[in-house]
């Protein structure tokens, strides 16, 4: 699954550590999410969407 996490984070000039703190996860988890090698659970996906104030489908995509 692809996502725009890295772009959205860069737009806000946030570090991975800052995003990790906001989401309550580790920096390693944020990195795994950004590289698309780990898909978040629904609760975490909703948390990410709320944090960026965007719909989930505009952050995550199942297209290759």
């Amino acid at each position: 699954m692809n996502n725009r996490l890295k772009v959205l984070r860069a737009e806000r000039d946030w570090s991975q550590a800052h995003l990790a703190t906001e989401l309550g996860v580790s920096r390693q988890t944020v990195n795994a999410l950004e590289t698309g090698r780990y898909d978040p659970s629904l609760p975490l996906a909703f948390k990410i969407a709320r944090l960026f104030q965007l719909p989930i489908e505009s952050i995550f995509s199942d297209e290759e």
Partner: protein, 152 residues
């Protein structure tokens, strides 16, 4: 951060309880031994060591529960993946050794007596269980490292 700090304190308390349980167990057995009793063959030793073993494992489970609930979902997923694939792979290696032990040639193998210099069936059973556990833990460690390495 506060959660990690709390977990570290709880883990230290858990470890302290295990050490305390070992100290009390050793003290009781030492006292009985000093009073001239054949401690290790007595039913009291059986109960003392049995209770110590159960308490130790309960504390270990409690610390594991606290640890697992304190880490985030990706870290939990890494542990679950490592438990299944790493543990199973380690068990597969052990399983191959168990099958090979059925060969008549295996009867000639001299297994070192590491368990209090004992070579009785119970000591060998413990050796086998410990060997299987070690293989599973090695597999677990490798699989856990692989999971994070692939997502770096």
């Amino acid at each position: 951060m506060a959660g990690k700090r709390k977990l570290l304190i709880q883990s230290a308390v858990g470890l302290g309880l295990v050490v305390l349980a070992a100290f009390v167990t050793g003290g009781v057995l030492g006292f009985m031994n000093a009073s001239g009793q054949d401690v290790m063959s007595s039913s009291a030793a059986l109960w003392t060591v049995g209770v110590f073993a159960v308490i130790t494992m309960l504390i270990a489970m409690w610390v594991s529960l606290k640890w697992m609930s304190s880490i985030d979902e990706a870290a939990q997923e890494a542990h679950k993946w490592a438990w299944y694939w790493g543990g199973s792979s380690g068990m597969a290696v052990g399983g191959a050794l168990v099958i090979m032990a059925s060969l008549p040639q295996a009867a000639a193998i001299n297994i070192p007596a590491w368990y209090s210099d004992r070579v009785d069936p119970a000591a060998y059973a413990a050796t086998g269980a410990f060997a299987m556990l070690t293989l599973m833990l090695i597999g677990y460690g490798v699989a856990w490292a692989w999971w994070w390495w692939a997502r770096r």
